[in-house]
């Protein structure tokens, strides 16, 4: 067990250090280009700069929840029920919730400047908000009492139920009403209506946020492993103490 602690502590490795350094470089470029180099939008003015944070964070949030679902399904399907899948699912969901919060906050700010309102009952917005609350619930389930195996089983099942839930929520809200601005970059015609530097900055943002996501998830799942090991060691120590106590009596 101490070998596990030694292997995972500190949580950084050469790979994560490279990813972290790359993330800092790319994000620094996005900040400079997004705030200074790129032009204003003809219609949206300065508010278009929010897009360089909003779009990548939304992309990462959805990616994180897909990873959580895949890792949870892998835990359920695999015969060994490797705890690595569970920790990866949990770490990915935690980071996803953080990026989803950033998406909702930046989206509200952009909406206030563009639509004149912080919130509109648009299907994509509403589904995103429901996704956020659903994964906050998922994280609450992960903190329920029980063994590591119970936590893994419960949270994997809840993640799978969320996969069932989200399309139903989205479809019901789409039937209810629709307002969100159409896709600008990934539109079905492949006709991109954006300045080259703006487009490059946006893609840089996506790459930078993805690097940050990978870095955070790798570190977080390693700290989760340390917590699990520490908890188990604490239990082993308590059992050993009781055994010693009973032998002395």
């Amino acid at each position: 067990m101490s070998q596990v602690l030694q292997r995972t502590s500190p949580t950084g490795t050469r790979t994560t250090k490279v990813i972290g350094a790359l993330a800092i470089l790319v994000m620094a470029w996005v900040v400079v280009s997004g705030l200074v180099l790129t032009p204003q939008d003809v219609v949206q003015g300065e508010s278009v700069r929010i897009m360089y944070v909003h779009v990548p964070s939304a992309w990462i949030a959805y990616l994180a929840f897909i990873f959580t679902a895949v890792a949870s399904a892998s835990w359920l399907i695999s015969k060994k029920h490797s705890m690595g899948f569970d920790r990866f699912a949990g770490a990915s969901a935690e980071v996803g919730v953080m990026f989803m919060a950033i998406t909702l906050i930046t989206g509200s700010l952009w909406g206030r400047l563009t639509w004149g309102e912080f919130w509109q009952w648009d299907p994509r917005l509403t589904t995103t908000a429901f996704l956020f609350v659903t994964y906050v619930g998922y994280l609450a389930v992960r903190r329920l009492e029980g063994s590591v195996e119970q936590r893994a089983r419960r949270s994997a099942v809840v993640a799978m139920l969320a996969v069932l839930e989200i399309p139903l929520v989205h479809f019901s809200v789409v039937l209810w009403r629709s307002l969100h601005q159409g896709a600008t970059v990934l539109n079905p015609n492949g006709d991109v209506k954006m300045d080259d530097l703006m487009l490059f900055t946006l893609f840089s943002g996506v790459v930078g946020f993805t690097l940050v996501f990978v870095w955070l998830v790798l570190h977080r799942q390693r700290t989760m492993l340390l917590v699990d090991v520490a908890n188990r060691q604490g239990l082993d120590a308590a059992i050993a103490a009781r055994q010693t106590e009973s032998l002395v009596k």
Binding site: F130, G137, Q150, R154, F171
Partner: protein, 235 residues
């Protein structure tokens, strides 16, 4: 010569036994009739105080009926599983070697019966307090809506009730988990009920599209719940 292998109880018998147990507990304790129904009735009156406009009340009556149902759902689900966890009955069922999907369906059917009783009272109070009218064709739509929406709510309520049973902070965790899941039921049931009531000039025919969504929801969580329930109550 007798076989040494234990006799496996049939799924239908387990469903019936669990259903009768839950109904019998309710008939003896009368929690739904003595506490939940008055609570739901009070919520309907409070909505009238808050909105304070007859036209608005008529317009939103469908939504208020289903909101009151959702608030009451949390109480009924928590009560249903509190009884089972208090004396370890859920653990006993789990270790008895019976099919846990049958336990899921037994508890879901019992929950559905309680919800239907509640919804009848809520719809009657909407007719009386909010002065909504229901035509004959609207009544057919309303009954179908109640059956489909209640099935979905009962499946989801049983599933997440089983997950949070015995957990610390279950009173707050259950709404946090349930509310996002039941959002499609709230939207679809409200629109179908508004069509049945004719609220805001809605036609009865407009409501049938929402029944499809309610049926899909019930089917998805009926199947998903029967598969997941055993894993979620495993302690």
């Amino acid at each position: 010569m007798k076989s040494d292998s234990p006799t496996r109880v049939g799924k239908g018998k387990v469903v019936t036994a669990v259903f009768l147990k839950d109904v019998q507990i309710e008939l003896r304790s009368r929690v739904v009739t003595n506490q939940v129904l008055p609570f739901a009735g009070l919520v309907m009156v409070m909505f009238a105080f808050a909105l304070d406009n007859d036209d608005v009340l008529q317009r939103v009556a469908g939504g208020l009926v289903w909101l009151a149902t959702l608030f009451s759902l949390f109480i009924i689900v928590q009560r249903s599983f509190a009884v089972d966890t208090a004396d370890g009955a859920l653990d006993s069922l789990r270790v008895a070697g019976i099919d846990l999907s049958a336990v899921f369906f037994g508890k879901a059917i019992a929950l559905a019966i309680k919800l239907i009783a509640l919804e009848i009272v809520l719809i009657c109070s909407a007719v009386i307090l909010y002065r909504v009218d229901v035509s004959a064709t609207g009544l057919v739509l309303l009954v179908t809506c109640v059956l489909c929406a209640t099935s979905g709510l009962a499946f989801v309520g049983t599933l997440y009730g089983g997950l949070t049973a015995g957990a610390k902070g279950r009173e707050t965790l259950l709404p946090l988990l349930l509310l996002p899941v039941v959002a499609p039921v709230l939207i679809a049931a409200t629109r179908a009920t508004e069509a049945a009531f004719g609220s805001g000039g809605a036609q009865t025919s407009e409501g049938w599209a929402w029944i499809g969504l309610l049926a899909v929801f019930a089917a998805v969580f009926g199947v998903g719940g029967s598969l997941a329930f055993g894993s979620l109550i495993d302690e």
